[in-house]
Subunit: 301 residues, 4 copies
């Protein structure tokens, strides 16, 4: 497996030339656009890696499935889905339009920014500090002995430049889709996006969403299934449909260049390649995953 991964990384690293590092959060521009790395964490605890696996990067949108997991554990599916919809959408991740035309006045799903901010707002805690502690400790419990840090520079950068997310949060307040203070909720959201990991952590987190024997499940199996389903239908921004067809596994991408994949019953995947395509997904990472999943016949359908 390791040998094959080296071949794949070598083959797809040149694809990084076709993408660009995310510029809308200045701090992200510091990433090396030619990085490409992959880690596989299988259910027997074996780890295979290749490429830029020493690079650290922030979770960004890859944090959304875990905020959702915690919100589900705090409120149950009914509590969560009375506030947030379940439907995929072809819109881009930061669209406000759907909010306004949807008669239901709910964000469409927990993986677009609007739904993710509303999900984060559901995490329980007496104060922002406690909520964030709960979330990062929860993530650490899913990837024990893996690197889980916090990038304060990215957090400050996001917080300073997050005008679109602020617009979304205040809009959510206006339509009563979130209850607390917009700024407190945004602060928690910017923090969750700034949690720092590496490829192995990402693969371990992917494994935590696989179908595991009950004794290994931190996330209740039903909730993990819900999350895998959202990842499959809307985990890759407005390229989710294309990814489902061409790659065929549940995955979640972030604008840091991270992609977390899940091969149910088998393993978790962590990919990092900060050069992004126009939809916000790692250009080399998607190509590498397509080749790997095709070769290993991992598509779920």
């Amino acid at each position: 497996m390791g040998y094959m991964l080296d071949d794949l990384v070598a083959k797809f690293r040149p694809y990084t030339d076709h993408g660009r590092v995310a510029g809308y959060i200045p701090e992200l521009l510091k990433a090396n656009p030619q990085d490409l790395g992959i880690a596989i964490y299988d259910r027997h605890g074996h780890i295979h890696t290749s490429g830029a696996v020493q690079s650290k990067f922030t979770l960004q949108s890859v944090s959304k499935p875990f905020a959702l997991a915690l919100a589900l554990m705090d409120h149950g599916p009914e509590g969560v889905f009375s506030r947030i919809g379940m439907e995929p959408t072809g819109d881009s991740f930061n669209s406000l339009m759907k909010l306004e035309t949807f008669s239901s006045l709910k964000p469409v799903n927990p993986l677009v920014n609007a739904g993710a901010i509303a999900t984060t707002a559901l995490i329980k805690g007496s104060c922002a500090e406690e909520k964030f502690s709960r979330l990062i400790n929860f993530i650490r419990s899913l990837a024990p002995s893996c690197y889980v840090g916090f990038n304060a520079d990215v957090y400050r950068s996001e917080s300073l430049t997050g005008d679109r997310n602020r617009a979304i949060a205040y809009f959510l307040r206006d339509i009563r889709a979130i209850d607390g203070e917009a700024e407190e909720c945004l602060d928690l959201y910017f923090r969750q996006c700034s949690i720092e990991v590496d490829c192995v952590t990402l693969a371990a987190l992917g494994l935590s969403l696989s179908v595991l024997p009950p004794e290994f499940c931190v996330i209740p199996p039903l909730y993990a299934r819900i999350i895998r389903t959202f990842m499959f239908t809307c985990g890759m921004y407005d390229a989710s449909g294309e990814f489902a067809i061409k790659v065929g596994i549940p995955a979640k991408s972030g604008v840091s260049g991270a992609i977390m994949g899940v091969v149910p019953n088998k393993l978790g995947l962590g990919v990092y390649g900060p050069a992004l395509d126009i939809k916000g997904n790692s250009v080399a990472g998607v190509a590498l995953l397509q080749a790997l999943c095709s070769r290993e016949d991992w598509a779920i359908l």
Copy 2:
């Protein structure tokens, strides 16, 4: 299995009271709203049925996956997806809005009406008659020794009342998303919707989209996988996301009350219950499938 199906049909038939037979095509109003039936066709050729399996009904939107299969066989994925997108959408099935705001000027996917009409327009043939012959014979070849007829009354009714579909077809012409005559394309589309089947046919068609040994595949395996993926992400109108989470299998519904389901590697499902919920799906049929798939643990994720 047969005994359990009888129990499920008995349990969920009262749900038909919560829905209404589709009224927008007058001919469909003749259906018995209390009908509920199910057929299972497994890969070993065993058939289990219960309830209104003698009822005949038209495919309506359940025809879309098969028009897509034929278009894929005629033009390959690149030919099809240069004209039609791959992204799911939270919009209702007959929305025009996405057409106008999408910069790409492609219908979003082959299972919304706009994309389905554009897909049908790709079916090869020297004339409308030949195109329809190819399609209905193709469907017959997927469900040999099952009932596949044509309901001329429904066809006339659709043709007379299909103003929304006409609006979509002319819009598609205007943006050059279809090449031929709008009326000829619509005529073929109304005919494919009017193909008549029963629950057993529906289950056999579902099986034809399962993962079958190559010698049994009429639809090439790669295309069947593409179709299953579209069914999973957008087969149930704007309840597709909710269905994926609550039921968890690829399925396609039609406003006649039909639902065709696929349990990969195992079997095909045919459900009929013409009383619809507000999204256009069989209200009792969805509930029955949710109970059945949960009990049998058929969810793919």
Copy 3:
């Protein structure tokens, strides 16, 4: 006045280089892009002209105010505005989006295509032939002893290529915004667009919408005021707001390059210049009108 008009035409004819003749109706491409002409018809019956006043051209959207006048005379304001809205819109003339998001399911106003087609559908008559006779004779009565013809080539060209308008008409049928057959209504609409005039006719038609002594009014004064108001708020496609500010008079443009202007209490203006800007208005015609209205202080506000 005549001398000044010659100066203005000479000054603004070079602006025709910055526009393009409408290509979406092939027959319109035959126009000479360098044509620029103007006629003024004042309330005392004096006519001043300059430039391409011998050129003949079709009314296109300039026909909309007169279909509205006839619909108002046939049904009264309540009858008309129960079916068609009164609000201006920043959308382009052939937008469908507003139709779908407006909860009222009425086209926004009588001067966008959707509203204009719904207005035309209100013209009384036992058959399409009679309806068209009524409309063209009505227009002739407003511009007696002026040229009012019919361009059969343009009509055929519109009819063959009017996919967008067909989409709109069928959509209007679907939402019950028109009662009759879509094709019959479209046929009348394509005919009204194909009525042929010259600059002097256009100026006479503009005068008919001015504030005239009652004995000269074919159009009842209240209805003329309604029409002038629509022309002011939405007569120049999605440049109506800019035209209201920069030129400041009620006007209606057509994609043939026609602009009909009204200076209340004073005169009617007919301008022709088929080279259009990207919003569909005569590029030299708008510039000429801006200079003329500014020099003569004709802005109504």
Copy 4:
């Protein structure tokens, strides 16, 4: 005149029963829903009043034309309209949708909230305090010897509950339609909305936008004409088109129940009636103005 106004106020006060005081800013709920008052300020300095003319109320959206006037005086039309559009819109006042679909990424016009916030952001000053001083002093100079105060309770109430406006401001920042801090700009916007006047002030302000002899003009005549045009095409929220047709004068309404009207060359109108219709306009105020303008033949077209 005074006698007629008393009759009109008596006749239309019962209409206040058909409306409701704006509830989205809690402080506004304190208004007396049965209030109805009118003041007329003519160009000779004569004032006629009737009804609740002693009531004080905040300008709310009636402040928008004056922020626009100051922005025009600070930057000229080119400076303003490079950032803000000129087109009317049928959308409601607080819509975000247009922002997202407009390719130009400019708010559509200066009288919808998005455009008004962007206009306010253009007012010059070294700090928020100075900007507000300039604006309120400017308004005082337009209505000398009239009451112009500031309602600190309304300001605090708006500031606390202005989530929709915050969403708009951050969205404007995100698309680079405003340069400064969103919160500073919002603070100035909430303050301008909280400037307090009475009917006579409102009428004097209306007169300041009329066509006045140059020696009386604080606002340069060209800018006053621009503002009157915007008021005519988009001054009454998404009832602007209907108001233009039925009443026919430039006017601007606010959710406090204020309506400021302009009869060019003649007079200014100040109406107050806090019971609003569903579009946000004073229900009795609009009816009174329709009757008055019809009787006096004040419609501009």
